[in-house]
Each structure stands twice: as structure tokens, then as C-alpha cells.
């Protein structure tokens, strides 16, 4: 057995707009039961959702920290308005480690230690090194990267940790426009937060009847659930130290437990795949990006 660093399991930011009470219950259970080391909190997709969880935020942070988990604040992926910039500054002063998802954060953080999120394009070692020199202690890579690129970036990362998403629908784009509102014939200004109707997003189907994409407000995600399984050992050997689970309306404690077992070599990738398939009830697993193929494919 090679002497590789311990693999950390993280819970990425909740991308969907769940009711605040459901979100609170979710995080309290994660605090009590999920074998994850780090939990990212914060609204990534739309600033109109941003304050909804405020009443429960401090409680969730406290409970997660009391359970020994590191809490990181994730920012919006696309910042445009002065109000959004102000909110960014406030979160930088909140005291939590920040995950920067828009380059705006790099200016606001001004060299303070931070995590670079998967919505900032870090796809080569030059960019990795520039960001590391500016305070990035960890870089969560975009989902599009193939295994060879991830390994190249991780191999020379030095003190900067590298994180990849190991489970969940994969974020494919961010926009100003709200496609959830459009699907309900509403404008974004009068959206009635219809994105909250779909706990795992809204399926967009092709004209030939194939389920292709998932709409989540201004964000577009894959329809299939991206998973890393066989790749994990190789990625760990090349220096990837953090594996992210993206929250879904599933038993995420069970997902986390299986991934912890996988990382601890107590369970085989094939067994985890079979169990995930059963949990997903017909929604496919995908791994095209990491395999260097079309992202929506599985091989």
C-alpha cells in the first residue's frame, strides 16, 4: 500500500433552492451523522435566494463545527450587481474560510487564505501557481477536466490542496438569465422563486425525448449524476486530497458513508456504483468528463 495522504471528504454547497427548514434539518443531520470533513455553505446560483437561509445559518455553522467539521462559505458563481459585491465583502469578513466562485472574490480577499471554487477556470498548472501565490490554500477543479489534467495539476501543487467533485450532477454553465423562470413563462424579476419547486432541478428533455440537462434557476447541470469511482485511487496517488459530494435530495448520509468506505478501501467501486444506481432509481451515472469523453457518457 503506498503512503498517500489521507483523503478528505467534503460536502459541496447545496445548489438547489430548498425551503429553509428542510435545509436546516439537512445540515443538522449531516452534522450528526455524515462522515465528511468539510461542509461548504452558501448560495452559489442566485442572489435572490441568498437571504432565505440566514435565520438558520449561524445554528448550522455552530452545529457543524461542534461536530468537528470545517465550514467554508461558498460565494455566488456570477456576481454583477453592487448589492452582490457588498454581500461578497460581508462574507469575506464573516470569519469563515471562503470558497471563491467568481474572480471578484480574489480582489476582495486580497491575498487572504481561501479556497478557489470550481466556477473559476483553473485548468492548468500556470493558473494554479498564480492563484496559490495569491492565497489559494485549496483549489476545487472545474468538472470538465479529464483525469490526465487533474493529475498533472495535482502532481505539482505543493502545499495547495486539490479537490474534485466525486458525486452529483455536474454544473455546466451559469448565466444571468433564469431558465427556471422562463420554463414557467415568468421573468426573472417576477420569478416567484419557482426554482424551489424542484429539489434536484428541472429536467430538460430533447425534442427526441432524451433527458439531457437539469435546470436550476440560472444554472444548467448535467442530467446524469457525475461519479468518480475507479479513478479515485489514481487521483489520490497523484496528490488529489479532497473529494466533494454535491448535495441532492437523496440520503446524503448514506452517500457520504459509502464514499468514506471507498476512500478507506473498505468497499469496492463496483459495489458503490450498484448502490448509487439503486438510490438514483433510473437516473444515470455519468463519468464522461473524467474519462476524456463527452461529459454525458458513461464508460
Amino acid at each position: 500500500m503506498s503512503a498517500i495522504a489521507p483523503a478528505r471528504l467534503t460536502l459541496g454547497p447545496l445548489l438547489f433552492h430548498w425551503p429553509a427548514a428542510k435545509r436546516r434539518d439537512f445540515y443538522l443531520r449531516i452534522a450528526d451523522e455524515a462522515p465528511v470533513d468539510t461542509v461548504y455553505l452558501g448560495e452559489v446560483v442566485c442572489s435572490k435566494r441568498e437571504s432565505a437561509f440566514d435565520p438558520y445559518l449561524d445554528e448550522a455553522v455552530r452545529r457543524l463545527q461542534a461536530a468537528g467539521k470545517t465550514v467554508v462559505h461558498s460565494t455566488l458563481a456570477l456576481v454583477t450587481t453592487p448589492r452582490e459585491v457588498r454581500r461578497l465583502r460581508e462574507s469575506a469578513e464573516h470569519g469563515l474560510l471562503v470558497e471563491a466562485n467568481d474572480v471578484a472574490c480574489l480582489d476582495v480577499l486580497a491575498g487572504a487564505p481561501h479556497v478557489v471554487g470550481p466556477y473559476i477556470n483553473v485548468i492548468n498548472e500556470r493558473t494554479r501557481d498564480v492563484l496559490a501565490s495569491q492565497g489559494a490554500i485549496r483549489i476545487a477543479l472545474p468538472v470538465e477536466l479529464p483525469e490526465a489534467s487533474i493529475r498533472t495539476i495535482a502532481a505539482g501543487a505543493g502545499a495547495t490542496a486539490i479537490e474534485v467533485q466525486a458525486f452529483g450532477r455536474q454544473p455546466l454553465s451559469v448565466a444571468m438569465r433564469c431558465y427556471h423562470a422562463r420554463s414557467h413563462n415568468l421573468s426573472k424579476d417576477h420569478c416567484q422563486l419557482v426554482c424551489g419547486l424542484d429539489a434536484d432541478g428541472l429536467t430538460a428533455t430533447s425534442m427526441a425525448g432524451e433527458d439531457v440537462l437539469t435546470i436550476n434557476g440560472t444554472q444548467t447541470l448535467s442530467y446524469g449524476y457525475g461519479v468518480l469511482l475507479d479513478e479515485i485511487e489514481r487521483l489520490r496517488e497523484s496528490g488529489v486530497g479532497y473529494f466533494r459530494l454535491s448535495p441532492h435530495d437523496l440520503d446524503m448520509v448514506r452517500v457520504a458513508t459509502r464514499y468514506r468506505e471507498l476512500l478507506d478501501r473498505q468497499r469496492e467501486p463496483a459495489a458503490v456504483a450498484a448502490e448509487l444506481r439503486a438510490m438514483l432509481a433510473g437516473r444515470p451515472l455519468i463519468n464522461g468528463f473524467v474519462r476524456g469523453h463527452a461529459g454525458m457518457t458513461w464508460s
Binding site: I123, N124, G288
Partner: protein, 332 residues
């Protein structure tokens, strides 16, 4: 360029298009090398180093600048071709390079400090702190603003950062935050981000089925239309999808951006330059669109109306329909 005038920045997908743009009144042209280093990496387009040198000589001889787009993101372990492209642009005497990748910006800043750096739309800098980041760390002189901002937001950014801004005035509309869209690679495996091609033609197909034509990208149907019905090229964000059982252009209608009628507002917002999209379009398109915008800007400078020129542009709009995109409230 006198104060209050707008610089007209025009597409040059080929040496012939470059000459056409210069002759039609471009203040600047932008172009790229014939490889993955630019975001319009399509067959039959772009420049080799010799063609670039000739193009620059032609443009400079007529008072026109040449901006070289090296605006894809170099993949891990293979950044060499991108650095070489920056070196070649500098050697050829380009007036600026248009970059997006932070690592490549860092390289250009260190290696060619005198070479002017513009920030590509692919960097998706849509707020003042992002612009400050690129300005302060990499000496970026101009930002090409993403097509997601209203005129009021553009105006506020200009005022807050004092940087030169370049905004899209005509051409295709991209509703997604650019440089961060993986839809094409999700469907067909080719990455616009690092390979410079969204929905490349060799992954596009058309199939007849039940009296309809299906346009496909990779294995996925992106639209279905009657034979003879005009339909946009099947990029993922211009496709029709079903939600709630209803088919719609979920992301963007088949429309083209045309900001000609709001040029006075863009000028008042403090914009430095107007960008015409379309390095993949024909030389005739370039001549027509650049010529019309030249007339419009000249009319504007003399205090004349630009509306009479609108009809001449209609035929060039993709799918025949036009939009002000995000510039006007309500688009979102």
C-alpha cells in the same frame, strides 16, 4: 480616436476578411492563430504567423489596429502553444493580445510587459472587483464585457473602474457566462474552453424523421423543424428543449444581437469600443456589417440619427430576428 467617439472593433476570420474589415472602416480588427489558442478554432479560419504579419502590415498601413485573440484556456501540461502564440503576436507587432487564462495573463505580463493586454469575454469579468483584479495583477488595459450586462450596469462599471471597456454590438448572442460553459463538451466531448470550438461541424448532423429535420450535436437532438424552415446552427444554447412537456427555446431564441439603435446610449455609458462578432462569418458579411456600423458611428459623431441604417443590417441577423440582449431590462 477623439474623446466621445467609439472604436469599431471588427472580426477577421481570414486574411481576406481582415482586408475587407479594414477597407470598410474598422478602427481595429481582431483575429487568431490557426489552432486551439483562440475561441473560433474552426476549419478554414484564422491566421498563420506569416499571414498575421501581412495582415498587420495591411492594417497598420491604413491606420487600423490588430488585436490578437489568444483566449482559450491552455490545458494542463500543454501550455506551450499558448505561450508561443503570445510570443508570435508580440513579434508580429500586434497592438494587443486578448487573453482569458490567468496563467497566460501572468506569462504575457512577465514576458512581454510592453504588449498591451485586453481581457477576453471568455474571462467573464462582469463586476468591478473582477476587473480590478485583472487590472492590478496583469496590467489589463481593456475589458471585453460579457453579454450579460444591462446598459446601466455597463455604465456603473465604467465609472467605478475607469478602465477601457469593449462591448458587443452585433452578432450572435451567448446567454451563458462565457469561458465557463461546458454544454458543448458535455454533449459532444469537444471543449470550447480549451479547444476553442463550440458545437464543431464534424459533430453536427441533420437527420430526417417523420417529415421533420432533426439537428443533432453528438448523439443529442437539439432541434426539430419542418424541411425548409430556417433554423439556427445547433449549438446547445440555441436548441429547443422540453420542460413541463412543452417545447421551447429554453436558453435563447434564434436571434442576433443588434445594438445599432442604442449606440447613443452605449456612448453615453462611457464605453470605449464596440465589438462586431463573427470571425466565422463571410467576407461579404464583414463588409456589410462593418460598413453599416462605420456609417452609423460617423452619423452619430455628426449628431445625426442612426435608425435609417437599421434596415440594411436586418438581412445579416441570424434567423432574421434581432434583440438588444441583456442591454435592455426584461431580457433576464
Amino acid at each position: 480616436m477623439s474623446a466621445g467617439t467609439l472604436e469599431l472593433v471588427c472580426p477577421a476570420g481570414t486574411p481576406a476578411a481582415l482586408r475587407a474589415a479594414v477597407d470598410a472602416g474598422a478602427d481595429s480588427v481582431y483575429c487568431g492563430f490557426r489552432d486551439r489558442t483562440n475561441a473560433r478554432n474552426y476549419p478554414g479560419l484564422n491566421f498563420d504567423p506569416e499571414e498575421l504579419a501581412e495582415g498587420i502590415a495591411y492594417a497598420h498601413g491604413r491606420g487600423c489596429k490588430v488585436l490578437v485573440a489568444i483566449n482559450t484556456f491552455p490545458p494542463a501540461g500543454d501550455t506551450g502553444p499558448w505561450c508561443l502564440a503570445v510570443d508570435r503576436a508580440a513579434d508580429a507587432g500586434a497592438d494587443a493580445v486578448i487573453l482569458a487564462d490567468i496563467g497566460l495573463l501572468d506569462y504575457a505580463t512577465r514576458t512581454h510587459p510592453q504588449l498591451r493586454r485586453h481581457l477576453s469575454v471568455q474571462a467573464s469579468a462582469a463586476n468591478a472587483p473582477s476587473i480590478r483584479y485583472y487590472r492590478d495583477h496583469f496590467g489589463v488595459k481593456r475589458v471585453v464585457l460579457p453579454r450579460v450586462l444591462s446598459i446601466d450596469e455597463v455604465s456603473a462599471l465604467v465609472e467605478e473602474t475607469g478602465i477601457e471597456t469593449e462591448v458587443f454590438a452585433f452578432g450572435s448572442v451567448g446567454p451563458m457566462s462565457e469561458g465557463r460553459c461546458f454544454l458543448s463538451s458535455y454533449l459532444c466531448g469537444v471543449s470550447p474552453t480549451s479547444e476553442g470550438a463550440c458545437a464543431p461541424a464534424n459533430h453536427v448532423s441533420y437527420v430526417e424523421s417523420d417529415g421533420r429535420v432533426l439537428s443533432k450535436l453528438g448523439p443529442v437532438t437539439l432541434n426539430a423543424f419542418a424541411p425548409g424552415e430556417p433554423a439556427a446552427y445547433p449549438t446547445p444554447c440555441k436548441g429547443r428543449y422540453l420542460t413541463h412537456g412543452r417545447a421551447s427555446y429554453l436558453f435563447e431564441e434564434p436571434v442576433a444581437l443588434n445594438a445599432l439603435a442604442i449606440l447613443p446610449e452605449l456612448r453615453a455609458a462611457g464605453v470605449t469600443a464596440l465589438k462586431i462578432e463573427g470571425r466565422q462569418r463571410s467576407r461579404a458579411y464583414v463588409t456589410q456589417v462593418v460598413g453599416t456600423f462605420r456609417q452609423a458611428l460617423d452619423a452619430l459623431a455628426r449628431g445625426h440619427a442612426v435608425e435609417p441604417l437599421l434596415s440594411t443590417l436586418r438581412q445579416e441577423a441570424e434567423g432574421g430576428r434581432e434583440t438588444f440582449g441583456a442591454y435592455r431590462k426584461g431580457w433576464k
